[in-house]
């Protein structure tokens, strides 16, 4: 078994606009369903507060905000366990990301 991180990148606007409450409810329900369907494969996962709450530290200098103005921002992640990339893809395809996309990255394993 290998571990993969599924990074969820989405447009933040729908989560902040006038219909935000419905969007939150709908996305929450979709993630609950994803969790029910893939429980045994999930090692961990979290939703993140929006980029407006982010703090950047570079060379010791603290500034607000994320690195750049991108339309889609990291909004959450899952850490999963899968036999190979194809299984990881089949799980990642089920992750709700209707306002963006997900990125799938293998976790690096260091030889001890």
């Amino acid at each position: 078994m290998s571990q993969y991180l599924i990074l969820i990148y989405e447009d933040e606007a729908p989560f902040e606009g006038p219909g935000a409450a419905e969007v939150h409810a709908e996305v929450y329900a979709a993630h609950m369903k994803f969790g029910e369907n893939n429980g045994p494969k999930l090692v961990g996962g979290n939703a993140l507060q929006p980029t407006a709450t982010a703090t950047t530290i570079r060379d010791g200098v603290v500034t607000d905000g994320p690195f750049g103005e991108t339309k889609e921002a990291l909004g959450g992640y899952y850490l999963i366990e899968a036999a190979d990339l194809d299984e990881a893809i089949s799980i990642a395809k089920q992750v709700p990301a209707k306002y963006g996309a997900v990125e799938l990255r293998p976790i690096m394993v260091f030889d001890s």
């Binding site: 290998s2 990339l85 194809d86 799938l104 293998p106 690096m108 001890s112």
Partner: protein, 417 residues
């Protein structure tokens, strides 16, 4: 029976061309990863050079090479197991045992479908898929693959290394995808083989119109897929398309290298055995409803192959086939080809109208065949000045010397107004 060095060198070269992909594919699972499998296969070919001279050339060179390469892989595993007991195993013990048994056997299963599905995995960039397929299935050296795509050898070496690292790090599986995923994955495989063919058929840049080496590799890959998936209509369609297009290979330029249009080609010089084989495959592929993209493209090539002369071509049939193709594979490039066929079936004014209807397609911006087709219809309806401007547009977009010469000669032949 001992053999001369020359005989053995020729036999090994032949085995390299014909069996590399088979031997490598059969060795990957034993070796545990592609890099190590390549080393073992290289080693087996080196041993063949020595041993075949003393012992004679085996009846089944591929089986001999596979056995030697797999034994080498097993030896390496044993060495690893002794030296590095702490490391996790790449290949489970039971598989090693299983293969150890199989190494002695006569029947070696053909694993090339696994290998090509791994090489053409959608998680890899298309250029990496192409490079891996030519390197691993066709056995081209890194230098040869670099030459095929006109990049430097270090660039290609880095591309191949990155792709193999991704296969290992992301764990792209070495297997034939399950039935529910196979159609999508096979489409990627066929796309890569088709791209090898089109890259060879009309080289994107360079002095020669055709890169014969690539065309032959594409044909070999398509034949391999046909042998592995004999009842798959898209495989039959792609092989038919390659055969029927390639049948015209020797007539596409004249002795001086000038481009000859379908209209000008000497049809008596078309390769009749490729046409016969292609026509049978088209019939088979077209039996499936609806026919797929390659089957329809092959059916269009078949109409040309069956026409005794350019004038006798059934252009309405070609237009009808393009209509079907637009339905299964909507693409502005297909629509442009359809527009050209409309011009042939219904006259240059109708063709011009069909081409102009596509002028706003963003995907066709910068596509050299759009202004080239427009120029031809403008020339034929007698609008010389507009034709001149369109030829100049097309020339500016064309990097193939043979195609550019053709457009320039057409430009020169326009009446001056």
């Amino acid at each position: 029976m001992p053999r001369t060095q020359t005989e053995v060198a020729a036999a090994v070269a032949e085995a390299h061309r014909r069996e590399w992909g088979f031997v490598l594919a059969a060795t990957v699972r034993v070796a545990g990863n592609i890099d190590r499998a390549e080393e073992c296969v290289q080693d087996a070919y080196a041993q063949a050079l020595q041993q075949w001279e003393a012992r004679g050339i085996p009846a089944k060179p591929g089986a001999w090479l596979t056995t030697v390469a797999r034994r080498r892989a097993l030896d390496l595993h044993r060495r690893d197991a002794t030296a590095q007991r702490a490391l996790p195993k790449l290949v489970p013990d039971e598989l090693v045992a299983d293969v150890a048994e199989a190494v002695g056997g006569d029947e070696i299963p053909d694993e090339r479908l696994r290998l090509i599905c791994t090489c053409c995995h959608p998680a890899l960039a298309v250029e990496a898929q192409l490079a891996l397929t030519l390197r691993l299935l066709c056995g081209l050296s890194t230098a040869e693959v670099a030459r095929a795509f006109l990049v430097s050898e270090p660039t290609m070496a880095a591309r191949l290394t990155r792709a193999k690292q991704k296969i290992a790090a992301a764990k792209i599986p070495y297997r034939v995808p399950p039935a529910d995923e196979l159609p999508e994955r096979l489409a990627a495989v066929l796309g890569v083989v088709h791209l090898v063919f089109t890259t060879g058929h009309t080289a994107p840049v360079g002095a020669d119109l055709v890169r014969r080496d690539l065309v032959e590799r594409a044909l070999e890959l398509a034949r391999m897929l046909r042998a592995l998936l004999p009842s798959h209509p898209d495989v039959a369609g792609l092989l038919a398309l390659i055969l029927l297009t390639d049948a015209r290979r020797n007539t596409r330029v004249d002795r001086t290298g000038r481009l000859l249009l379908l209209e000008e080609q000497d049809r008596s010089q078309w390769n009749q055995s490729e046409i016969r084989e292609g026509l049978l495959l088209v019939r088979e592929a077209s039996d499936h409803r609806p026919p797929g993209r390659y089957a329809l493209q092959a059916a269009i090539a078949a109409v040309h192959a069956a026409a005794p002369t350019w004038a006798d071509t059934d252009w309405e049939e070609v237009v009808e086939l393009y209509d079907q193709l637009c339905a299964v594979w909507p693409s502005p490039v297909v629509a442009l080809n359809r527009a050209v066929a409309v011009g042939m079936a219904r006259g240059p004014a109708a063709g011009l109208a069909a081409v102009d209807a596509l002028a706003a397609e963003p995907e066709l911006a910068g596509y050299r065949y759009l202004p080239a087709a427009r120029a031809d219809f403008l020339r034929r309806v007698g609008r010389a000045d507009d034709a001149r401007a369109a030829y100049l547009d097309a020339i500016a977009l064309t990097d193939n010397a043979v195609e550019r010469d053709f457009l320039e000669s057409r430009l020169r032949s326009l009446p001056t107004g």
